[in-house]
């Protein structure tokens, strides 16, 4: 395993109380694999990624337990100095909002080049040449002279390409992409997802794709981890999960998405509201919204049951859920 998150716990201290953002998340990614972490707002998917990257804002955030094993080493036990060296070189991140993630007063060439100067000790001139090559690599037209432009001079899609180029610069082993296409239009989104898939194949990187979009997941992911209220509730290879979800939340999500390939009619809607992280329901956090909920769900936290090879579901009644579908 390239990256393995084990039983991670993160909480946020706010003025209204403690928000349990991540409550025992475990997932793993192999080299060359794409893991989609699927969840709605409040599921803890981004917080987990920030903890892995070591960019969690603390305070108010605090990691209260668990391990993050990257290439066999527990990142949480490393010194900040060592983590910084890994960040960027081995582990890179792509953010949703490229405009705010890029520095507006530096040219994109300077920002790309800086990676090489800081991590590889290159000269300014070599770094610039590498920056141009990178921009070519992510298909930015006219890279040689656009390298002197500032971020705001690029369109949204082009900026996201620059973000990808920056993440790619030092050929990291793993890239975490946090909703990389959410802010983009559909046609541009397709371009960017295509580019990411192409680069991942070429560099044999691991990719953690954080998203709420079931369509994007189906298009690019190998495996899926579905998160709810700070836990992974189901993990499975992508084909299995769409064919037969083993958790009622996953099933609800799949049924509630309006699909291009299906005609109108009433949508299935998951009842109720996403959980409040200040007061996560007892037992299974999904029970107030779950059609299968019974007494045991209110009292006992469901463990991750092994459903099949490489498949797990945190539902007491996963068997029922699987069969319901057929």
């Amino acid at each position: 395993m390239l990256l393995e998150v084990r039983d991670l716990h993160v909480e946020f201290r706010t003025r209204d109380g403690i928000a349990q953002a991540v409550n025992g998340v475990s997932y793993g990614v192999d080299a060359g694999e794409t893991l989609a972490v699927l969840g709605e707002s409040g599921s803890g998917k981004s917080v987990t990624a920030q903890a892995v990257m070591g960019i969690l804002d603390s305070p108010p955030g605090r990691i209260t337990g668990g391990q993050i094993l990257f290439q066999g080493r527990d990142l949480l036990r490393l010194k900040e100095e060592e983590r910084r060296r890994i960040r960027g070189a081995e582990l890179a991140m792509i953010f949703q909002d490229a405009l705010s993630a890029l520095n507006p007063v530096l040219t994109v060439g300077d920002q790309l080049g800086e990676m090489f100067i800081v991590h590889r000790g290159m000269s300014r001139k070599d770094a610039r040449a590498h920056a141009v090559a990178l921009m070519d690599r992510v298909h930015i037209p006219g890279a040689a002279h656009r390298v002197r432009d500032y971020p705001h001079q690029f369109s949204g899609g082009m900026r996201q390409r620059i973000m990808i180029a920056m993440a790619l610069a030092l050929e990291p082993a793993l890239i975490i992409a946090d909703e990389p296409t959410t802010a983009l239009d559909v046609t541009v989104q397709a371009q960017v997802m295509d580019l990411l898939a192409e680069l991942r194949r070429e560099y044999r990187m691991g990719l953690v794709l954080i998203t709420h979009d079931l369509g994007v997941v189906a298009d690019v992911a190998d495996r899926i981890a579905v998160m709810y209220a700070g836990r992974v509730v189901e993990s499975a290879p992508v084909h299995d999960i769409y064919k037969a979800p083993a958790h009622p939340y996953t099933r609800g999500l799949l049924d509630s998405v309006p699909r291009l390939d299906q005609k109108g009619g009433r949508l299935y809607a998951i009842k109720g509201l996403p959980p409040n992280l200040m007061a996560i329901p007892s037992g299974c956090a999904f029970h107030p919204r779950c059609p299968l909920a019974r007494d045991v769900c209110r009292t006992d936290v469901p463990p991750l049951h092994t459903v099949a090879k490489n498949r797990a579901s945190a539902c007491h009644f996963w068997k029922e859920c699987l069969h319901d579908r057929d």
Binding site: D16, S41, G44, G272, L277, P288, R289
Partner: protein
């Protein structure tokens, strides 16, 4: 979740767009299930909490607010009834006691004219509070009306007002005070109040203009307009309540600085003039004796410093309460 600071646990703050609470989200999950048109749910009658009551809830537990509010309350009481704790006459002086130290019944000693420092310091609160409150009210009223209109109507109004405020910002306060106030002979507080209002309103008008422009861009203003609401309704019902918070904060902090400004002007001899009782006048009068009778300088200066600090801290506390995201 676009454009949220990364430290917020995603979604934990989702229900708190404007910094409120999210304690109800869980309890509401049950009532939401009911289908449209179905029987009315019987959810818990949660207490309605406006942003103001949320702010007050916060302020009540903030020691900085409590301390500064206590100091200010005390000052206001002194300003209204100084004789409560200082029955003497601040103008009755006895030159033979000049610069004497403290003694029974006269804890702060005497100043260079032989006046009782305790009585004068207590009575000085009235002038300071009067100048501060009146100047702030004037500044806030003038500034928010002009700034608010400029922000709301924009274009010509805005361009003209912006140039005027720029002009006023260019006037050095002390120089302006020395020039303008030196020709005034009145011994009341009004020339000073008038001067502060004249130079102070552009600051508030800028704040008000910005706040109105921010509030104006919200969709709820569009929604009201789409309903056919009039300009006055939009301004009073939708924009003013949402734009008033920064004005209150800045005005509170400004109140403290206006008190300091009055003292400065009085010290320079162009603010209040004797026989008015003012900390600035007393500080000015006592400064030659700083070596042999520091007490005459210490008490009015201390009172001034505490007063100004109290208002500034109050403003900070109010700001924190009204906009928790600023922390």
């Amino acid at each position: 979740m676009p454009e949220q600071p990364p430290y917020e646990p995603e979604g934990a703050m989702a229900a708190t767009g404007t910094g409120g609470t999210m304690d109800l989200a869980a309890s509401e999950a049950t009532t939401l299930e009911k289908t449209p048109g179905g029987p009315g749910g019987t959810g818990p009658e949660g207490k309605p909490r406006s942003l103001w009551s949320d702010a007050w809830h916060d302020l009540r537990r903030n020691p900085v607010f409590l301390a500064s509010a206590l100091v200010i309350l005390f000052l206001v009481v002194l300003a209204i009834r100084p004789s409560l704790i200082a029955p003497g006459n601040p103008l009755s002086c006895d030159l033979s006691k000049a610069l004497d130290g403290s003694r029974a019944g006269h804890p702060f000693g005497y100043d260079g004219q032989g006046c009782d420092v305790y009585t004068r310091t207590v009575h000085g609160a009235r002038t300071s509070v009067t100048v501060g409150v009146c100047a702030t009210l004037g500044v806030a009223l003038l500034g928010s009306v002009l700034g608010g209109l400029a922000g709301y109507f924009g274009r010509g109004w805005d361009a003209v007002l912006s140039r005027i405020t720029d002009t006023f910002f260019a006037i050095p306060v002390l120089l302006g005070g020395l020039v303008l106030l030196s020709v005034v002979t009145s011994t009341t507080v009004w020339p000073v109040v008038g001067f502060i209002v004249l130079l102070g309103w552009p600051q508030i008008s800028r704040i008000a203009r910005g706040a109105v422009i921010t509030a104006k861009q919200n969709d709820y203003v569009l929604a009201a307009r789409a309903l056919g609401a009039s300009d006055s309704r939009i301004l009073l019902r939708h924009i003013a309540p949402n734009a008033v918070a920064p004005v209150i904060v800045v005005a509170t902090i400004a109140l403290g600085t206006y008190i300091a400004l009055e003292a400065t002007l009085s010290y320079l001899g162009v603010g209040l003039k004797p026989p008015s009782v003012s900390w600035g006048i007393d500080i000015s009068a006592a400064s030659p004796y700083i070596r042999n009778a520091p007490h005459a300088l210490l008490w009015p200066s201390g009172a001034l410093a505490i007063t100004v600090l109290a208002f500034i801290m109050l403003g900070d506390a109010v700001r924190d309460a009204l906009d928790p995201k600023l922390r």
